[in-house]
Each structure stands twice: as C-alpha cells, then as structure tokens.
Assembly symmetry: C2
Homo-oligomer: 348 residues x 2
C-alpha cells in the first residue's frame, strides 16, 4: 500500500528499512517456495510477474523499530525483529486462510485458493522456520544485536512464545465456532492470544534486541497486548458490519462462519429472549441469508456492537497508559501512540 | 511400540528418559490442541481414552541422547534436544499427511482424516512452535544446558536450520510429482533435505547442547545426513515394494502418487525404451492399476530397486565412517552405529 497522507510517518520509515531485509529473507527460500511467498506478500502476481500490490500496512515492523528507538537504540537494531514478526504474521495469515476456507484476501485469491492447500501449508511452515532462523541470527538480514548475544536468545524466546500463544488463540477461535455460547472473558482471552500476542511481540522485540530493562520490555509488551485487543475489537465490528468493498469479505462474514467474536459474546451475555434467539440462530447449520441478517440485527440490538466499540476505546486508552508508565525516548513514544491510534481508528 | 529383542537397547533407554519430558511438553499445549497431539503420538485413541499405541520407534530421541554421550556428557543433557527433534518430526508428519492426502498412518486414521484439515494444520504449527520454545529454554522440560547458555542458542539454530531444510526438501518432493523426469543427484538433494536434515539435527544436537567442539558436531552431523539418505533409500524401496500389511499403505503407493523417489530416478537415468515407457506412464493422470503394476516392473527391470538398495548400503557405510573420523566416547559410538544398522536393515 502507498502510504496516504493520514498514515503515520513511522509506517513509511519502517517500510524503507524493513522491506529490503524482508526481501533478502525471502530470497533465502528455495525456488519451490519463494514465488508463493512473494505472491502472498503482494510482490508478484499469480504468474510471478512483479506487481505493486498491497502487502499490508506494515504495522508490526513499524512497532518493532519504534520499540528499539523507545529503548534508546537506533531503529536499525529492530530490523531483524521486524522481519521475524512480519514473517510470523504472514505464516499465520496463510494457514488461517486454509483453516477458515477463505478464498480471498486483500481482493486477491488466497494462497491455498491459487496454489492448493498443500503448497499453502508448506509455504506457511517455511515462513515460520525462516522467522526463527532470522531472530536467532540477525546477521542473516544484515542486522546486529546490541550488547551480549543473550539479547538475541531472549528475542528468539519472545518470538517463539508469541507464536505459541497466537496458535493457541487461533485454536480456541476455531473451537468457538462449534459451541453455542462464549462469554466475554473467554472471548477476550482468545483474542489476547490470537491478536494480542504477536502485536505484543512486535511492540517489545526491538527493546529486547537493544537489551532494555525488564520493566521497559514489560510495559511495551503490555502496550502491544492492549493494542491487539483494541485492534481485534475494531476488526470484530468490521467482520460483521464492515463494507464488503473495503474488507473484501461478504457482509456479516464472521456470523456466516459461526465465529463467536466480541460483539456476539457481549450480545449473548446481555441475555433475554433476543439473546436466546441469537444463540439458537448461531447454532443453525447452515445459517440461511435471512438468518444471518437477523443475527446481525440481534447482535446490534442487544448492544454487542456498542460493547465492542467501547472495548476498543478502553483498550486503546490502556495501551497509551502502558506507554506512559515507564521512561521511554520521547519521539518514539509519541509515534507508538500515533500508530496505535491509527490502527484502532481505521474505518471506525 | 514395545521394544522387541532385536531393537537396540539405546532405543528403550531413550524412551524412558525422553517420553516423560515429551509428555510434559505436550501438557503445555492448551485443551484444544493437546488431545489431537496426544492422538497423533499414539497416547490416546480417537475418543481421548489412553491407548498403548505405537508412537514410532523413537530413533530421533535415541540419536539425540547418544550424541550427548558421544561428546562425553550425560544422556540427560540431550533430553531437551530429543524432545525438540521429536516434536519437529511429528509436526512434519501431521502436515505431510495433509499435503499428500494420506488418510492412514501406523494403521490408524491420520490427524486430518479424523479431526479435519484445519485442526491438523494448527496442531502441526503448535508442535513446531513448542519445539522452538523447548530448545530455547531446556528448563521447560526439566533439562539443563552445559556450560555457557550459548550452547542453547546454537542448539536452537541447529533445530531452526534443520526445520527449514526439511521443509525445502518436502517442497521439492511435491514439485517432483508434476515433472516427468528427475535425475539421481536431484533426488538425493531432495532426500538430504526431506529426511537427512532432521536426522543430522538429531545426531548432533546432544553434542551441541554439551558444548562439543565444532569438529565433533560436524562429524555427527555428517553421520546423520548419511544415515538419513540410507534410511530414505530403504523407505523408497518399501514405498514401492513394501508389504501393505507392514507399511499400512497400498502396494506401489509412491508410484500411484507420481513420486520421483530414488528407484524411479535411477531407472529413468538408465535410459532405453523401457525408461521412456516408464516416464510416459508416470506422466499419465490418472495412473490406472495396470499402469502402476507395469511401472513397478519397469523400475525393477531398469535396475532402480537394486540401485536404491546399493545406495542404502553405501550411505550406511559413509555414516559409519563419519563416526570413526573423530574422537568420541566408545560405548555411545558403538550404539550410534548399532542404531544406524537397525534403521537401515529393517525389512530390508
């Protein structure tokens, strides 16, 4: 995506630093894997021709670089972390599309839809292994680690732990599709894993690579978890009421796939006959077009949409509060806050 | 599997040390992931009831422990490495079954066949992330790392590099299914990745965790690659002529799926009209029952079976030679050789 006027400058700066390193990392893949990864990243089209496609906003790399700067280190020290986190993110998108059966992402066929399930599985696997290789040896992408090599080891642990938590969250999300009821706390725990863990990793890995104090790392980690919950609450609203032209998904998409996201959990928790009707609708298989529309109306009338919007605001405030709780370099602190607001306020 | 009289004692000893640690590792998974992993490992049946199933021979954990001992360290030091390597192996089996569409393994339904493709993908992912967590923090399974923590970092790199090489090999194997011709060198390069990389990791990771010299680690690594190639050559023979009652796969299984394994590559390279007929048969889609039988006969008559059997013997000899090339503790050296012979001589 070409940064628009309203994109924080940190996103463009991070793209300039991280994209060459990311391209260098993808070049390490063998010829069977590389073109599929490049297609997913929007660098080439289905025939392998260069394309100026939309490779996403690059929020995670930007957070990684800002977290190095917030800890007083140069942004370049965060680059291997930014590359690793982006690779883990892409691994999860490619596999999630297989799991959810989603045939389109960013208005293009998903990897499995174009290359088959087998290739989507193996390319996702390759990106995860590559992420670990790079964070264990930042020199692979021209990076360095400040101070003792122990920082690189700790960074690799942060990436592995975040990956494990993200996978556990995704598995819980899948399990929620086949249960009739999910409470708000359960839903938030799932989303803290599915979305919060990797954003927390992105927001703290630069500081880890820079050898920052535990208190600084912990505050940046908390910022990332809260930001992840805010981001996911917005995403949950868009997953039901988002404009199909913008989201690239059909209207009420999450309801069609029986996902128990935050608006649904909040509406179910509100109780009453409408909540019962909603629970019954969401247990119907298949859920007809009319039923989907009715379910969306019920989620809204039982306050699910408003609850998710309020949750997003509350989590954004907590994220900003975490940033203020420790000593950080001033300019990157302000830019972390700017990126957080940008992410949460999109189409919202 | 209950060790039979002919199993090397090292396999049984390794199982006693590694299985409790492996169970502890699997216990770290969340309730959505744990039962699926336990099913794959043969610990529970499809309904989650404990079963004394066949979880494989445990060759990789045994190699990991012997490699620690060969470097003069106690076997216990290799346990986290053995657990990590076993988890990476299981991750690859679960995903390979999805990729190849194999519905049976060890005479039971595969994970995707029983729980669906989505769950097989996510559980495989979880095992890979868990492997990295454990090798980065051996304390998670009660393990320790000798000397500087740098050994743990190096061990994590060995695991990540082996995983990446294994995935690249599997991607090449997939690509071979849709090309008419593969030469022997290309086939061996693919098998060095697909099978050799992880056996090399298993055979050297104990020494890495023990902080052994580079020359010792390199020799053990070379032992593992050669053993992997020997093992795979035997597997390739079984993949065509193996007894379905033993392999759990239909006769000529690899030919049905158009795999270009070593016997096929060798037969194609022998040239002549029979090789041309074989190439043409393997390009037919679908390949009828009669064609599969004819292809198997052609591979044998063009010397493919003999070439693979000779390759296995040659690679086993190279593996044993690698063991003799450096100073290693005598008893574990002899046991590494015994495990290698056992693996290559099974049903052969």
């Amino acid at each position: 995506m070409i940064p628009t006027q309203s994109s924080p400058a940190a996103l463009g700066r991070a793209r300039e630093l991280v994209e060459p390193a990311l391209r260098g990392a993808i070049d390490r893949l063998t010829p069977e894997l590389r073109p599929v990864a490049a297609y997913h990243l929007g660098w080439v089209d289905a025939e392998g021709r260069p394309s100026g496609g939309d490779g996403g906003k690059g929020v995670r790399p930007a957070l990684a670089l800002l977290s190095a700067e917030a800890a007083g280190a140069p942004a370049s020290l965060g680059v291997p972390g930014g590359v690793a986190v982006e690779l883990v993110h892409d691994f999860s998108l490619i596999h999630d599309d297989v799991i959810d059966g989603d045939a389109e992402r960013r208005h293009r066929p998903t990897v499995w839809a174009l290359f088959g399930v087998g290739r989507a599985v193996i390319v996702g696997d390759a990106l995860l292994a590559l992420a670990q290789q790079i964070v264990l040896d930042p020199g692979l992408v021209g990076g360095e680690v400040a101070g003792a090599s122990g920082n690189g080891h700790r960074a690799a642990q942060v990436v592995a732990d975040a990956t494990a938590a993200m996978i556990a969250g995704q598995a819980l999300d899948m399990a929620f599709e086949s249960v009739p009821y999910v409470d708000v706390a359960g839903c938030l725990a799932m989303e803290a894993g599915k979305t919060g863990a990797l954003l927390a990793c992105a927001s703290s890995i630069g500081a880890v690579l820079a050898g920052a104090d535990d208190t600084v790392v912990a505050a940046l980690h908390r910022f990332g978890v809260e930001l992840g919950l805010a981001f996911q609450a917005v995403d949950d609203v868009l997953g039901i009421w988002g404009d199909p032209a913008t989201t690239g998904k059909p209207a009420w998409s999450d309801l069609r796939s029986h996902k128990k996201t935050l608006p649904v959990a909040a509406a179910l928790a509100a109780g009453g006959s409408e909540a019962e009707e909603l629970a019954s609708l969401l247990s119907s298989e298949p859920l007809e077009e009319q039923g989907v529309a009715r379910a969306a109306a019920l989620v809204e009338s039982r306050g699910g949409r408003l609850a998710a919007e309020e949750e997003a605001d509350r989590r954004l405030a907590s994220a900003l509060e975490a940033l203020s709780s420790v000593e950080l370099a001033e300019r990157p602190r302000a830019e972390l806050a700017e990126v957080a607001r940008f992410v949460v306020e999109r189409k919202h």
